[in-house]
């Protein structure tokens, strides 16, 4: 390669860490990780420029799963977009459904019955549990703890997916929420089963944490890796557990108070260092808070209708206008921006995907670390490509 100044790998202003080209440092090497690589959690590619083993530049490349979800949303009716939202973040179809239903309810001004609101909270928190436990399992898989923790996590996740299946008919593609309520009511034994699962989840978390949280190798691989400062996180629009791990107490459940969240008492855990270990730990603590919310909700859930009797399922046409609705999804702020022109289809249908925006800081987190650490950092961001690419 020619002198470093003319290197095509390092354009002016490209990387903050400058590589030195002397007898100790060789040429820069460009490595393309992905799109088919088990550690990239989907069809995602990182083009990393390496100086030895250190990353001096990293560009995320995506779009391999792009199917123009928003264009599909504009060409179908409001209701027929609901099953498509399952496919965004396919781990959390329940929260995607809720965010979309919330945006449409804001657009059309629809009330939601109390029991439906309770069901929404219960399902969203169950969804958060299975998302976070999955993330913890995958993160450990990325650090090299091959298999066992992931299988433990998946065992618990299967139980939650079983609950989803018995309620909505599908494990992952639930298509459960409707504008102004939910699709089917939960039978009494479902509530009982959910209560049993939630009561046993804390013990599982204790066991999981005993195995993992204090593990020396996990700490060595994650502490001090990929530090995100609070100012950088807010400026880059990072939301969700990643933002809270950076020490910013911003939880949309508290800030917006949507649904029935003001009724429940729960705490918002905040990280102190903003590193990968904090991002892992925040998820564990959030699961503990979710258990507390679930216990309150499953105790207090009232009887009653699950759909507003005046809600229109067929021939639904909101009046012209626009609305942006957002909720605290397990990955961060998931929002829907809708413009209605009075026709049955939305004029504009926009998804604000949390993991897409959270990826903005990937390069910053990885600079100066080794290529093996970039895998762990990416795992701690918690991306789902169905949502990033849309």
């Amino acid at each position: 390669m020619s002198a470093l100044g003319e290197s095509p790998l390092l354009p002016a202003g490209g990387a903050r860490v400058r590589a030195v080209n002397d007898e100790f440092h060789g040429d820069l090497l460009e490595v393309s990780m992905g799109p088919h690589h088990p550690s990239t959690h989907g069809v995602f590619r990182m083009v990393a420029t390496l100086d030895g083993e250190r990353i001096v530049k990293l560009k995320p490349v995506f779009g391999y799963l792009h199917r123009n979800h928003e264009k599909i949303g504009e060409s179908t009716t409001y209701l027929s977009s609901m099953p498509y939202t399952d496919r965004l973040d396919y781990l959390n179809s329940m929260t995607n459904n809720w965010a979309y239903a919330l945006a449409v309810e804001k657009l059309a001004g629809l009330p939601v019955p109390e029991r439906a609101e309770y069901l929404r909270v219960i399902l969203a928190e169950l969804s958060r549990l299975q998302n976070h436990i999955c993330l913890a399992g995958f993160l450990l898989q990325d650090t090299g703890a091959s298999g066992t923790p992931l299988m433990y996590a998946f065992r618990e996740r299967e139980k939650i997916l079983g609950l989803f299946e018995s309620l909505s008919g599908s494990r992952m593609m639930c298509n459960y929420q409707r504008f102004g309520g939910c699709r089917v009511d939960a039978p009494p034994d479902w509530i009982l089963r959910a209560r049993q699962l939630v009561d046993g989840f804390g013990a599982f978390l204790d066991e999981f944490e005993e195995l993992v949280t204090g593990n020396e190798i996990v700490m060595a691989r994650t502490q001090g890796i990929g530090v995100l400062t609070a100012a950088a996180a807010v400026s880059a629009g990072v939301t969700g557990p990643m933002l809270r791990a950076a020490g910013v107490g911003y939880d949309i459940r508290k800030v917006d108070g949507y649904g029935l969240y003001p009724r429940f008492s729960f705490r918002v855990p905040i990280g102190a260092h903003g590193d990968t270990y904090d991002r892992y730990m925040i998820r564990i603590l959030e699961m503990r808070e979710s258990i507390s919310i679930l216990q309150q909700a499953l105790r207090d859930i009232p009887e009653g209708p699950i759909m507003d009797p005046k809600a229109k399922i067929r021939g639904f046409r909101p009046k012209p206008g626009e609305a942006y609705g957002r909720i605290e999804g397990p990955k961060g702020e998931i929002g829907f921006y809708l413009i209605s022109d009075g026709t049955p289809n939305p004029y504009r249908y926009r998804v604000r995907p949390p993991s897409f925006v959270n990826l903005t800081v990937l390069e910053d987190l990885c600079l100066g670390h080794t290529i093996a650490d970039s895998v762990v950092v990416l795992g701690s961001i918690d991306i789902v490509l169905g949502e990033v690419d849309r």
């Binding site: 202003g13 995506f62 779009g63 792009h66 123009n68 928003e70 264009k71 804001k106 657009l107 059309a108 001004g109 950088a232 807010v234 400026s235 880059a236 629009g237 990072v238 939301t239 910013v248 911003y250 800030v255 909101p318 009046k319 012209p320 206008g321 626009e322 609305a323 942006y324 609705g325 957002r326 702020e333 929002g335 921006y337 413009i339 209605s340 004029y347 504009r348 926009r350 604000r352 897409f356 925006v357 990826l359 903005t360 690419d389 849309r390």
Partner: protein, 224 residues
């Protein structure tokens, strides 16, 4: 929000005299009205919104584009014309066509993490949909706009001036059109790409300028 958009736009106007600020009402029940900013001072106003003590809109949550194609609005005006023969008056309908020029719009949803309020919706409009599609990038103000503005550039074709890395993000680099525009027509085979096979065919054409002559069987030759 702490203050109404009217008082906020007044404050912006006193701070930036001559700036174009317009309140766009939203008739939906959510009543999320928005501020339409002129492209000229948009970045300075955005910095003001981020740094002002009462607003502190430090989280740029959502950035997106909206395509408004050119519309022909037909207006009918009825007028009565008296009949010269003395009969009853005739009602004549006069149709006038008015062209509403199209534009591309970029919408930003701003929240405040430190003061926990929002959203404030700001929007900018391009001059037209063909040549004047340049708008100032707000990525220097909120880094959160970096990927989302790239997406708007990719799918709508808005060119953001001052964006650090304006490339396509979801479509591939060689792609020509902007798929989220309302008048986008899907090509017949959009996965076509020049392959070595295509080069080979070009070479064959060079060697055999007339493919019909090259393919035709020799005179009196083999059976079809």
């Amino acid at each position: 929000m702490i203050e109404t958009l009217e008082s906020l736009s007044q404050r912006i106007l006193t701070r930036f005299p001559g700036a174009e600020v317009l309140v766009v009402p939203n008739p939906a029940p959510a009543a999320q009205h928005s501020l339409l900013l002129g492209a000229g001072q948009a970045r300075a106003i955005a910095e003001f919104l981020r740094d002002d003590g009462a607003l502190k809109l430090d989280l740029c949550s959502n950035v997106t584009g909206v395509d408004w194609p050119e519309k022909v609005i037909v207006e009918t005006a009825k007028s009565s014309v008296s009949d010269p023969a003395g009969g009853p008056d005739k009602v004549v309908e006069v149709k006038t066509e008015r062209r509403q020029p199209g534009c591309l719009e970029v919408v930003y949803h701003l929240y405040s993490v430190s003061l926990k309020h929002g959203p404030l919706v700001i929007r900018m409009r391009t001059a037209d949909r063909a040549a004047g599609v340049t708008l100032p990038s707000l990525t220097p103000v909120w880094r959160a706009a970096e990927f989302q503005e790239r997406e708007v550039f990719d799918l709508f074709g808005v060119v953001f001036e001052g964006h650090p890395d304006l490339r396509r993000i979801l479509m591939w680099d060689g792609f020509k059109d902007h798929p989220m525009r309302k008048d986008y027509v899907e090509p017949e085979d959009y996965e076509w790409e020049p392959t070595p096979h295509g080069d080979l065919l070009a070479k064959v054409k060079l060697m055999h300028p007339d493919p019909a002559a090259a393919a035709s069987p020799p005179a009196g030759g083999a059976k079809p």
